[in-house]
């Protein structure tokens, strides 16, 4: 079969090919979406971008909780007089076709009055009337066209976040004042002795004063606050000399114009604040579609089905679950609380909680933990603990989650700032003392001039521009950082700890090896046919790899949950499952997951599932191992130990069966003498990610889910991690170089200041010149570094 692509979603059309309207679709879901679009005049969807659709998921009764008005009330942003407005996050928005179809939702239902997409955030804002429409209907409609909204516990109670635009305002104010003051002070630069200019000098000066007021007291207010906070906690941060500089500039200039001593330094003052804010603005790049703050709330459902005493089903909000309640857990639902299984066969995937890749089976009467995902069938459970008291969620009670890594870390700029401030103050006092001795009238002039010219504008700009630009370069290479501070911390890393499952192994297919007596062709065919009937994940992966085309009809098929499956065709029977079920001793040499096979009650052999490592993991370990200590922390069993030892450098710590708390404690222990980078993926790593100096979360689909972390790394570029660390170190060097450069400017400026020749025009030239050259220097260097990443790629 030639690999044809689905007209809707662009996936390969494999076994289930659907023909409709002379087009090929990979599944019925895609065909349905196509039908909906074409019948509603939205077929242009396929013209804007080709094969841009997303296959819809089965949703069944997943959104029944949206019938509960209390929950709806919490989710909608506006609700009055029959009109509701809701903001929904839709991770599958990815192209202009998506924008187009989602903004034409009213074509699908007339109750929708407007819908607006925010593409960078991947959200949609829908306004609709609730006469014959509801939030549930909207969500179902979106799901049916492949744009299933992501509604989690996180959304509940979340107020519409106020966007902080103060920096934009401040930048606007400073820029506005800077431009105007520049124009007003221009005539005085040339010191033309002209009657006309002299006459209006005062007017111009007071106008400049007026323009500088909002700059000092509004735009520059952040620096005063930060300097004050720093001084109060006995820290000399970089904002201290900046605040001192701004204040001196303002006071000296005001005194100058009052006593007609000169035109003041208002131009330098406003320019300084403008450039500083520009640096802050540049540093503030955020990836609005990513969240670095996620905890279990983004993973948990918003509501569950509760069984009342009389057998009625009711949807209740998760926080309202009480101990003793009976809950109904459907397949593919997350268990929100610790509970006891009452009815049904539980097959729970705990991979998010423990990192253990294999599903576990539980029988009624056994305890289930929050965070597990039921894979097949319906369960009835009795609640043991409330949400916040459950095993998994308790992890978030740990104090590491309240700690802010940023405040604990002293940035390079701040550590320079300390020495710088002391240096500047010393020079200022010595120079003042000297002038007091020689010419007392000049003393004050020199003192203020030193403080003005030494204001570390260029130093304060070096880090934001270097790191901000690096952050963008990393982002282009699919390495998304929470903020620029992470780069500085990353540069100091000397130990890297990896999680195993999902981080260095792929979440997709395992490699499967067969050990034992070779199966005959007939046996293989029977095995494959038997597996086909089973929905167990192991059966399905085994089915995919078995080479056999003969499809038989089974005379008998039995599935023994938790044990295995049995198939019979004519005279032959085959059993697949656990060792005891098949009638063999579990192989001692294998600690990995294995499926045993017997044919006609004779033990044949077993299929061993081995983790498949991501491409380039070996190389990654080798290049990282050259510079730093490595380690593996896995929640899984030690079946892969030998395999891992082969690819890891010697003396690497390998720890298995680690619970989330163990991981956290281990990292904490290491941190006593080391700077630790943790690379993980699931909720079970959340504690370790928060504790480590830098926590990187590896994700195959960056839109879906990643626990709270400092950076999100796309799984496809995991092997580039050493390069990213190297680049971080290089950018710190760039910052240090630009510090040197700006010190040169300061030395020149200080010469003018100390000798008492600082004219406003000198300051007005020197300050912007140093700032701009630093910006150019750092941007140029980081771009060269960025190009290196690209070269390494090819």
């Amino acid at each position: 079969m030639s690999a044809s692509k689905c007209y809707h979603c662009g996936d390969d059309c494999n076994r289930t090919k659907v023909f409709f309207d002379e087009k090929e679709f990979c599944c019925n879901g895609c065909k349905t979406v196509y039908e909906i679009f074409t019948t509603n005049g939205l077929s242009n969807f396929y013209d804007i971008e080709e094969r841009a659709g997303t296959a819809p998921n089965e949703i069944q009764r997943k959104y029944d909780f949206l019938e509960n008005q209390d929950i709806v009330e919490k989710l909608v942003a506006f609700n009055d007089e029959g009109v509701q407005v809701v903001n929904l996050s839709i991770p599958s928005i990815h192209c202009s076709s998506c924008i187009w179809v989602l903004e034409n939702l009213n074509r699908l239902n007339e109750s929708i009055t407007s819908s607006q997409v925010n593409f960078p955030k991947k959200t949609i804002r829908v306004t609709y009337t609730i006469n014959d429409f509801s939030l549930k209907r909207l969500v179902l409609m979106l799901s049916s066209i492949g744009y299933e909204p992501y509604i989690s516990l996180d959304e509940y109670n979340k107020k519409e976040r106020k966007v902080d635009r103060s920096l934009t305002y401040k930048l606007g104010v400073a820029g506005f004042a800077f431009g105007n003051v520049m124009l007003f002070s221009f005539p005085e630069y040339f010191e033309v002795e002209e009657f006309w200019l002299d006459q209006y000098k005062l007017v111009f000066r007071w106008l400049m004063f007026a323009f500088s007021l909002p700059v000092v007291f509004y735009a520059g207010s952040g620096y005063f606050v930060s300097a004050y906070k720093g001084l109060r906690s006995k820290l000399l941060n970089i904002d201290v000399p900046i605040a001192l500089g701004i204040l001196t500039l303002f006071l000296r200039s005001t005194v100058d114009i009052i006593f007609d001593l000169g035109s003041g330094f208002f131009d330098s003052l406003t320019g300084l604040v403008f450039f500083l804010l520009l640096g802050k603005f540049f540093q503030q790049k955020t990836y609005s579609f990513l969240s670095f703050e996620r905890d279990y709330k983004s993973y948990f459902p918003i509501a569950v089905t509760k069984l009342n005493k009389n057998g009625d089903e009711e949807n209740i909000q998760i926080y309202k679950i009480k101990i003793g309640d009976r809950l109904l857990i459907r397949s593919n639902e997350i268990i929100p609380v610790d509970c006891i299984l009452i009815k049904g066969m539980a097959e729970i995937d705990y991979s998010f909680v423990t990192g253990e890749s294999q599903a576990v089976f539980r029988q009624s009467g056994e305890k289930l933990f929050a965070g597990g995902k039921q894979l097949s069938g319906v369960l009835e459970v009795e609640v043991l603990k409330s949400v916040s008291q459950s095993y998994l969620t308790q992890l978030w009670g740990n104090s590491v989650f309240a700690k802010d890594k940023m405040t604990a870390f002293q940035t390079l700029t701040d550590s320079i700032g300390k020495r710088f401030t002391i240096g500047v103050l010393t020079i200022a006092f010595i120079a003042t003392a000297f002038w007091l001795f020689h010419m007392p009238s000049m003393a004050l002039n020199v003192f203020t001039a030193v403080l003005i010219i030494a204001c570390p504008c260029a130093i304060a700009l070096a880090a934001p521009f270097t790191l901000g630009n690096m952050l963008r370069i990393f982002g282009k290479n699919k390495f998304y950082l929470k903020n620029t501070n992470v780069i500085e911390r990353l540069a100091k890393i000397d130990t890297t700890i990896f999680d195993k499952t999902g981080t260095i192994t792929t979440t997709e297919k395992d490699t499967i090896l067969y050990e034992g007596v070779a199966l005959t062709e007939a046996e293989t065919a029977l095995l494959k046919t038997t597996l086909r009937a089973s929905n167990h994940p192991l059966s399905r992966s085994l089915y995919e790899i078995l080479q056999s085309n003969a499809i038989m009809t089974l005379d008998e098929f039995q599935e023994h949950t938790g044990k295995g499956i049995e198939g019979r065709s004519k005279k032959h029977s085959i059993k697949v499952g656990s060792a005891s079920y098949v009638g063999s001793n579990p192989s001692n040499t294998i600690a990995s997951t294995a499926v045993y096979v017997s044919s006609d009650e004779n033990y044949k052999g077993c299929f061993v599932f081995k983790n498949k490592y991501r491409q380039g993991v070996g190389k990654l370990f080798r290049s990282l191992g050259e510079h730093m200590q490595l380690g593996i922390l896995s929640g899984d069993n030690d079946g892969e130990k030998q395999q891992l030892k082969k690819i890891l450098p010697e003396n690497t710590d390998l720890l298995f069966n680690q619970k989330p708390e163990n991981k956290l404690e281990y990292i904490k222990g290491l941190q006593k003498e080391r700077n630790v980078l943790m690379v993980g993926d699931g909720l079970n790593d959340a504690g370790a990610l928060a504790q480590s100096d830098v926590g990187i979360s590896v994700s195959e689909n960056i839109n879906v889910f990643s626990p709270a972390c400092d950076a999100i790394l796309d799984a496809s570029v995991l092997s580039k991690l050493p390069l990213f660390i190297k680049m971080s170190r290089k950018s710190i060097q760039v910052i240090k170089l630009s510090f040197l450069l700006s010190l040169c400017y300061n030395v020149v400026g200080l010469y003018f200041a100390v000798t008492g020749q600082l004219q406003p025009v000198v300051a007005a030239i020197l300050m912007p010149l140093s700032s701009i050259s630093i910006v150019v220097f750092t941007t140029l260097f980081t771009n060269i570094l960025g190009r290196k990443i690209k070269i390494n790629e090819s």
Partner: protein, 68 residues
């Protein structure tokens, strides 16, 4: 009264008008999403107009299927 005062007043008020426009545009959220509008402005008459009549019954069908 010198003309320069008049000129100053005019120039400053023009500048302030632009500044106010900037503040208003920030406040209205214009700069929050700088990408989507750039795509949106390229869409126009892509909707197929004639299918509207035949759509109504299909819409009912759709509503039914989502209502399950």
């Amino acid at each position: 009264m010198s003309v320069i005062y008049v000129l100053l007043a005019i120039s400053i008020s023009v500048a302030i008008v632009f500044f106010a426009a900037f503040v208003l545009s920030v406040k209205s959220g214009q700069y929050d999403d700088a990408y989507t509008p750039s795509v949106r402005m390229l869409f126009e008459d892509e909707l197929l107009p004639d299918s509207k009549n035949s759509t109504d019954e299909k819409e009912i069908k759709l509503t039914k299927s989502t209502n399950q």
